[in-house]
Amino acid sequence: MEKMLAYILNLATLMCINAVLAITLNFIMGYAGIFSIAHAIFFGVGAYTAAYFALHASASLFLAIPVSMVAAGLLSLILALPALRVRGEYFVAASLGLQVLGVTIFSEWKSFTGGLGGVIGIPPADLFGHAITDPVQFLLLAAGCLVLVILVTNTLLRSSFGRNLKAIRDSESAAHAFGKNVAVIKTLSVMISSALAAIAGALYAFYLGFINVESFTLDTSVLLMAMVIIGGTGTLLGPIVGTVLLMLLPSLFSYMWFLPQTEIGAIQQIAYGAAMVLLMIFRPGGLVSARKNQGEP
């Protein structure tokens, strides 16, 4: 029973962290039309920065999280650069490049990231001088951050900034013609998305107490993209639904005793690959948006 509870707490915490990532990715993908496959890099930058900061300065959440957000936000300018130059399919290639480059740097910059071995012994997160080691408390913290990120992104999307974003997604030239500063809006949206993704990174580092490059590879980026797409891009609920579904998948498969245990990972990947293909053929808007977007082109 206790084991079951620990399992559920762990799953719920990781769901909150991944939902933050999916929501922030959807923020640029669904609203600004910037299809980035480098999201795991900003997750990683957040995690490594928070870990480094916690180890060498302070484990206080009110310091570590903002520092990692600033680091990810500034680094995201590298992603904004090609996003301003090219769009659509060409940007996918550029972000893919950044993803590959980032993973190489993560595994080679040993003094900061610990190389392939990773960073160990990250102290527990500190909130008002209280170390959060209890799994229930950490889940509450992660859920709190998730709610915060949802509130921030929703407020932004309802503001004039959000309307500008959608205008750019629908027609960049039209937005330009209306005197919108497309470059600034795009750059800002990439920065906001990356900075918010860093929150998930910091939480992840504090939660596990250990991070290495494995968590920030192309596979993670693709999984995050799958979460957003399967749930439904450009919807509020979509990324959350996608996250929950894709994170329940592993536990679902582990109940199927007839599957060879060593192949579970591969079977999962095949399942979400197949889900992506089938959805694109039959319901390209994703699960959530299927009803809502019917009237739109």
């Binding site: 090609p82 090219v86 060409y90 950044l98 590959v100 992506m276 293909v277």
Partner: protein, 290 residues
């Protein structure tokens, strides 16, 4: 001597990249399908070759034919049953890209389950390197790679310039309606494009299986290279894709003069990044900026 060795390796790898990139570029240029699963085609061909030649111990010619058949069938089936239905109701680049990405994931994992995720090597009589002059090792495969690249590229150019179907393929990207007016079926042309594009990945797959061995993760690598080469070369330009493939192979190998091998993929993308920032239209391509 090291420089010369790396130069030769670079040209060999570059020739293979050029073939892969030209296939991807051909498909993307004429059907507008962002065929991310081109990497999967490569992996399938390579593993079929490996299976028939090294596991089943059949004649190498059979292995080559098997690989070619598998690649073509895979490409054509994808076009028919995945891309065509999507394009019928929604043409957006993103939808096709996601489906293609999904296919790539499925194939990579299936191959991993069937053949294992480790490295497999295919050793052929041609794989062994000979020491040409002291310190310089060259295998016959380098020469074959270069000859293959030239022959296939030349044949493709002739096909596109001289035959009706080839000219139709070139027109397909410009104006699918016009194709219909002239009594050609865009659907049939698309099938031919996919068959040809997939076929171009086959020599590269076989030669890299025989020279450096393979594992399922090669799918990603090939996909990255095709993309990078297509953009560096200029979208829609086959000549550009070929040159870019060569450039990427060379820079990847020459970078070894200064960097550790694990940076080679990063070097590819630094080249790509520089092109996107400073010359987004590539070597010879059309402008792709907004």
């Amino acid at each position: 001597m090291l420089l010369l060795q790396l130069l030769i390796n670079g040209i060999q790898v570059g020739a293979l990249y050029a073939l892969i990139a030209v296939g991807f570029s051909l498909i993307f240029g004429s059907t507008r399908v962002f065929h991310f699963a081109h990497g999967a085609t490569f992996t399938i061909a390579a593993y079929v070759f490996y299976y028939v030649y090294s596991v089943a111990h059949l004649h190498w010619l059979l292995a080559v034919l098997g690989a070619a058949l598998a690649a073509v069938v895979f490409g054509v089936l994808l076009d028919r049953f995945v891309y065509a239905p999507i394009q019928r109701h929604e043409g957006s680049f993103f939808t096709v890209f996601v489906a293609s990405l999904g296919i790539g994931i499925i194939v990579q994992n299936l191959i991993g389950m069937i053949f294992g995720r480790g490295f497999v090597s295919v050793s052929t009589p041609l794989s062994r390197s000979a020491e040409l002059i002291p310190g310089l090792y060259v295998s016959p495969l380098s020469g074959i790679a270069i000859v293959c690249a030239i022959v296939f590229f030349g044949a493709l150019q002739l096909f596109l310039m001289r035959t009706h179907i080839g000219m139709g393929m070139r027109a397909l990207s410009e104006n699918p309606e016009l194709i219909r007016v002239y009594g050609l079926s865009p659907r049939r042309l698309s099938t031919i494009v996919f068959a040809l594009g997939s076929l171009l990945a086959v020599p590269a797959a076989i030669l890299s299986a025989a020279s450096s061995g393979l594992n399922p993760a090669v799918t990603h690598h090939v996909m990255l290279i095709s993309l990078a080469a297509t953009i560096v070369g200029g979208v829609g330009s086959l000549r550009g894709a070929a040159c870019a493939g060569l450039l990427l192979g060379l820079s990847e190998n020459l970078a070894l003069l200064y960097l550790e091998p694990q940076w080679s993929e990063a070097v590819t993308f630094i080249v790509l990044f520089l092109f996107i920032l400073f010359r987004p239209s590539g070597f010879f391509g059309r402008a792709i900026t907004s």
